[in-house]
Symmetry: C2
Subunit: 342 residues, 2 copies
């Protein structure tokens, strides 16, 4: 409880019905549990363990949520955090600030985010009044790369997005996005310069919240780092289409940067985002269950992982210390007894 | 963002329509602003300044909310805080955890808190899962001493309550409570042993939340301090009527302890609450606007002030340092320029 924290990491946590399309997302062990992933990520970030959520989120193969990494860095650095309810579908035990968001509909619906304007406005107000010199923004929304692609299409921008799956189901996403454009009676680029409409017709409430928070904070002179991959880059695109031209950083993981299907460097360049990549060096612990799946191409990013790694790097916290912290948090949240113990 | 904080101060913030009865509460400059007091108190506790709330709460005479004192102590000690939405009537920019609460009705209605059972159950679950060795509970709900009196009446307990006004309008409260009993078709004591029904028929949602949090935390072996005056003592009575017999502390201010109309020592004894009184020594700064009104009998307590002062005392933070911190926070939240400055 400091007077004014230097840095505040704000997580926009929400949902989109797009996530339940078969094959779209790996952000949960199965579709029923996936609905709890954002609520659980919020709890992991706020408390370091789950409170109301039924399980710690893992991918179908068992890869733990990147919230473990963000929490681990946050604990070591003492970073203040804030969770924004950007349309949670399930209850969370984490404290949240509201921005008038509801769970998002399927991007193939005519209007998946009918309250996009309210969410963007409320988030912009909030972003302008948060007590921090620097705001690091993060997201958790299963299915979010598909809605990001939808928004990029509506804005007429490069549709490059990453995936929590090792094999990015890009053609499935393209197909879903094309269906979404048709349902909204749109051609690609029709909503250039109208970011709120792009989210309303083709996005998810988390994008409205992140873009609003970023725009409001930049308006107020706060430094902003978008901590994430192609979803955060899409939020950056929305900020630019809203006419906000202030410097804006995108900090992502090496796993997204190395994903050739994502073209994140090009996305960052398209939208004049200062680009930072941090490699946590998980090869050094390649057999640890909290790290092995990342090396196999799973998860890659999320819950501000890239932003947290950038903060660690800036603060001089070595990646060996980051990995040790990740193991600590992983062991705590999964209740795994150390090898050889009873 | 520590692994597990030793101490967590949880503020239950909510509302009751009872507060708009003329002459009942001084927790706001006027009735329209009073509805914002809990939301503003939550922001002051979480951030040290208001974010969405229109003003810093003051009494009609200008006495600032006791949130200033709690925040001041919390900043100096680095206490982790959590706000529970126990029926807020206006938006807050503070992050909150929900317990399924809605704003409370007028105690003279038949059933002012229809969701009391859900709120108590959700708060009890939450209290049992919060990460802390010790939980300090606090309230902000204008009109809350009247609903506390209503609950004490329904339980058949001593109806001693304090007031945020220098002259406790006890006969008005008695009259309101008698009307409430009649509207609920109850005689005093009819709901002994049924704390949920007592809140449902005669209380406010904050009492359900505080009692649930306390019961859940005690169930889980967490130490609990009720940080406040007669409303918190009433929460203690509810915990006892729920059959929870674990040790439980009530920590209040010298201003409540010296209020002869409140009989807080007797209330504490009735419900087997370990009783702690802390005097912040405001006489030493008797002309300062953040302290003068307390010496005149206003406010007295609220937003965990007594609990915060007890934490300061335990930690060896001198009351001179507490007063200096109060001045710092007061100046910051009211934007008062120091004398002699431009």
């Amino acid at each position: 409880m400091p007077g004014t924290p230097d840095t505040l990491l704000a997580l926009a946590a929400g949902s989109t019905r797009t996530a339940v399309i078969d094959g779209i997302s790996a952000a949960g062990a199965d579709p029923a549990l996936m609905a709890h992933t954002p609520s659980a990520d919020a709890e992991l970030l706020a408390y370091g363990h789950t409170v109301r959520a039924p399980v710690v989120p893992v991918s179908p193969s068992g890869c733990p949520t990147p919230a473990v990494v963000t929490r681990a860095v946050g604990e070591r650095l003492g970073v203040e955090t804030l969770v924004v309810d950007a349309g949670l579908a399930e209850p969370t035990g984490a404290p949240t600030v509201g921005v008038d968001a509801s769970p998002g509909g399927d991007v193939r619906d005519e209007t998946p985010v009918p309250d996009a304007a309210d969410v963007f406005a409320a988030a912009r107000d909030l972003g302008g009044s948060l007590p921090a010199d620097r705001l690091v923004l993060a997201e958790t929304v299963p299915g979010g790369t598909t809605t990001a692609m939808g928004v990029l299409a509506a804005l007429g921008e490069r549709r490059a997005v990453s995936s929590s799956l090792p094999e990015n189901p890009l053609s499935l996403k393209e197909c879903v996005v094309d269906d979404g454009l048709a349902a909204s009676d749109l051609d690609a680029g029709d909503l250039a310069g109208d970011p709120v409409a792009a989210v309303r017709e083709m996005g998810d409430p988390v994008l409205a919240a992140v873009a609003g928070l970023a725009a409001g904070a930049l308006d107020a002179g706060t430094d902003v780092t978008l901590g994430g991959g192609t979803q955060l880059a899409t939020a950056g695109a929305l900020v630019r289409h809203a006419g906000v031209e202030a410097p804006l950083e995108l900090a992502t993981t090496s796993f997204v940067a190395e994903d050739e299907s994502a073209a994140i460097r090009d996305l960052a360049a398209d939208h004049d985002l200062e680009f930072t990549v941090t490699d946590p060096g998980f090869e050094a612990r390649e057999r640890h269950p909290a790290m092995a799946a990342y090396l196999a191409g799973e998860a890659k990013e999320g819950v501000g992982m890239g932003g947290a790694l950038a903060l660690a790097d800036e603060a001089g916290l070595g990646m060996d210390e980051v990995r040790a912290a990740v193991v600590d948090v992983y062991d705590r949240v999964t209740d795994v007894a150390p090898e050889g113990s009873a």
